[in-house]
């Protein structure tokens, strides 16, 4: 079996035609395959997210993670870049969609692409994965404990995010949602409301809420890591992409 993977920093064209940094990990096998845009969490374009990107390549998918903070902090350490982005109120929705669109275009341009692209995002990236799926032609979207997909942050939060509820009818693909029962952003009640709203709009969703897990249960470098939920979650992701990106 030929399993060589190439992982490297590249430049892609993001929103407004901007050249932005991205981390690409892809199998060199020439057989056609789908691709995944990995949307990093609020702490940034960090080592943990790059590991996730490589894992998708190991699963046989082309993967790319755009650095959403390329413009604010080119070349900065991920934590410094995240601090700057936080102080600026996060990533504007329109720019995020443009950056994901650029990442998807990159994936579809690869010689071994079958033309299908999925998204996945964690934490704030979970909301952004949903946003991309409601804004772009995507074949499968995964949301990992994304908060504020519905509802808006409490007054005083510097995050410039709005509810995506009016966009649910525009979803271009099925949504796999993985959440923790102990999470408060988003709380299980919001997850249930979102799931019902997706079904009411005639769209397809597969949601799992893990008992004994809270926010960031996939994060192996944090105390929130819950191996049982994470292992099952990875299996669910592989099956979901296997069904929709093959």
């Amino acid at each position: 079996m030929y399993d060589t993977i190439l992982a490297e920093t590249i430049t892609i064209t993001g929103a407004n035609g901007d050249a932005i940094e991205a981390y690409s990990a892809r199998p060199l096998d020439s057989a056609p395959r789908g691709g995944v845009v990995v949307i990093h969490h609020m702490p940034g374009y960090d080592r943990a997210t790059k590991e996730i990107t490589r894992r998708f390549a190991e699963l046989g998918l082309n993967a790319v993670c755009p650095n959403l903070y390329s413009r604010e902090a080119p070349g900065a350490d991920p934590d410094d870049a995240a601090a700057t982005a936080r102080a600026n109120g996060g990533v504007p929705d329109g720019r995020l969609v443009g950056d994901v669109d650029g990442a998807a275009t990159y994936l579809r341009s690869l010689q071994n692409s079958n033309g299908k692209v999925g998204t996945i995002g964690y934490c704030s990236g979970g909301r952004q994965s949903f946003l991309a799926a409601a804004s772009l032609p995507i074949q499968a979207a995964v949301v990992c404990y994304g908060a504020f997909i519905i509802g808006t942050p409490p007054e005083g939060f510097p995050l410039k995010v709005t509810s995506l509820e009016p966009m649910i009818g525009q979803l271009s693909c099925p949504v796999l949602g993985l959440f923790g029962a102990d999470d408060t952003f988003p709380p299980p009640a919001d997850v249930e409301y979102l799931g019902n709203a997706i079904e009411k709009a005639g769209k397809v969703k597969e949601f799992h809420i893990y008992e004994g897990a809270g926010h960031a249960f996939f994060a192996t470098d944090r105390p929130s890591y819950r191996p049982e939920a994470a292992n099952d979650g990875w299996a669910k992701i592989a099956a979901f992409y296997g069904a929709h990106l093959s």
């Binding site: 902090a73 900065a76 601090a83 944090r222």
Partner: protein
């Protein structure tokens, strides 16, 4: 959870970072996941100089108890300082 809870403010002072001392103009205070501290959530403080770039930052990640102790110590000291020693402070 990601709390997202953040206060940002303008400040006046100096801080010492990787490249030595620099003038800081902005601060972010937030309760969220740390990068380095071994807790799920910490009180984080960034003293920043955006004009000098993202790396011009002095960062702290404090346990909730340590954050409260530090805040009380700062206020205790400031309340004990004679008014005539406080220059250019409109507060």
């Amino acid at each position: 959870m990601c709390t997202y809870v953040t206060e940002t403010l303008e400040i006046d002072g100096s801080a010492k970072g990787q490249a030595g001392w620099f003038k800081v103009t902005d601060a972010s205070v937030y309760f969220d996941h740390p990068v380095h501290a071994p807790q799920a959530h910490t009180l984080n403080i960034d003293l920043r100089a955006p004009e000098l770039g993202p790396a011009a930052r002095v960062a702290m990640e404090l346990s909730p108890l340590a954050a409260r102790d530090l805040a009380h110590a700062i206020l205790k000291i400031m309340e004990s300082v004679p008014a005539e020693l406080i220059e250019g402070d409109e507060a």
